[in-house]
């Protein structure tokens, strides 16, 4: 039978290298996905994933309770992603660069979203939403990515950012409000 995450973490903390390898397998895509959505390119996402696991390995003594492994790894990953984002921002203006967006937007959006049914329309809308994402402050952006896109709970996110759940709620509320504003303008244009 497959081991659960807490079981794997327990083994990993007891020095089992195989358990660590299994944890890498279970979390690598999740971390990649978050990093990609923050940094918008494969190379940076790849760097975040590698550094995250190396740091988690080296800092494993800091993990007091196996229950909180997900928040622990998310904290390491989001901190690294934010650092990298700050670095990249100094190198070039990414917020105004819309050319970087369309490449990773999948065209099958309409298959899961009922309205509006038009593929191109959905794609454009998604582009605008993603651009708006980039304008949000880091914590709000990551909160929205972790909660609404990746599906982590508010409790997990609160543990990740070491803040009360109320802060997660308000960050999410502000982020959604800004994103909805764009949606509103879009839908108005269509009418």
């Amino acid at each position: 039978m497959e081991k659960t995450i807490p079981e794997l973490v327990e083994s990993f903390l007891n020095g089992d290298e195989k358990a660590f390898a299994e944890l890498v397998k279970r979390y690598r895509k999740k971390i990649y996905s978050i990093a990609y959505q923050v940094l918008h390119n494969h190379l940076d996402a790849d760097e975040v994933v590698q550094e995250t696991f190396v740091r988690v390995y080296n800092k494993r003594q800091e993990l007091k309770d196996v229950k909180y492994f997900t928040s622990f790894i998310l904290r390491v990953a989001t901190n690294y992603a934010i650092d990298l984002l700050r670095k990249r921002k100094g190198q070039k203006k990414i917020t105004s660069d819309t050319a970087a967006l369309p490449g990773y937007i999948q065209l099958d959006l309409s298959q899961r979203v009922a309205t509006p049914s038009d593929n191109l329309e959905n794609k454009r809308l998604m582009e605008e939403i993603l651009r708006a994402f980039d304008e949000l402050p880091y914590k709000q952006r990551l909160t929205a990515i972790l909660h609404d896109i990746e599906g982590y709970s508010k409790a997990e996110i609160a543990k990740t950012f070491n803040c009360p759940e109320a802060t997660v709620r308000s960050n999410l509320h502000i982020a959604r409000k800004k994103l909805k504003k764009i949606l509103k303008q879009r839908l108005k244009q269509k009418e």
């Binding site: 895509k29 959505q37 990773y104 999948q106 609404d148 509320h173 909805k180």
Partner: protein, 188 residues
């Protein structure tokens, strides 16, 4: 319920995290208030939109390679902090390192020798003048000459190449041999 309060509860309503009492009250308000209902629709729609994965999977080959890199990096770290290893574990690890060093030292010697031989062979087939090529990557011109491109190397260039190989190889050699000596010493 006021619109202001209703709008505050919308996020939790959409996330299905409201207490039953609040949920019912909000539901009632949404039935009666079209502007809040509109906001609710937008919130739902946004949440639906964001559920889409916007990331392309780089593929299984990538995942395998990346995992190997991570494991190589972390296991390397663990052997560096291996002060608490038992004597037999340490000996086993050293034996592994010894064999690896011996093999790679052998490979280095073979590369160096074949570089010199290849360079000399090239000189015999093409004894004319040097025409281009990147000096930084001297090793690249050691490949068998391409039939369509005439790579012409002078004697001086060959000496440069051999020197380059030696210079590049030196640190690795020192590394390899020091591990071997370390092993021999620790055995005493």
């Amino acid at each position: 319920m006021t619109c202001r309060f209703a709008l505050l509860l919308l996020d939790d309503y959409v996330d299905n995290e409201l207490a039953p009492k609040e949920r019912e009250a909000l539901k009632k308000h949404l039935e009666d208030c079209s502007s809040c209902r509109q906001e609710w629709e937008r919130t739902k729609y946004l949440k639906e939109l964001l559920k889409q994965k916007l990331v392309n999977d780089p593929g299984e080959d990538y995942w395998k390679e990346m995992t190997n890199i991570i494991l190589a990096r972390t296991i390397e770290t663990s052997s560096r902090e291996s002060v608490t290893l038992s004597f037999t574990e340490k000996a086993a690890m050293q034996r592994g390192a010894f064999i690896r060093s011996l093999v790679s030292a052998g490979v280095s010697v073979i590369i160096l020798v074949s570089a010199i031989i290849l360079g000399t062979a090239q000189k015999k087939s093409d004894p004319t003048i040097y025409a281009g090529g990147n000096r930084l990557f001297a090793a690249a011109s050691l490949k068998p000459p391409d039939k369509t491109v005439t790579t012409i190397i002078t004697k001086k260039e060959q000496i440069n190449q051999a020197q380059g190989m030696l210079l590049m190889g030196a640190p690795t050699f020192i590394g390899r041999f020091s591990t071997i000596f370390e092993f021999i010493n620790s055995g005493e």
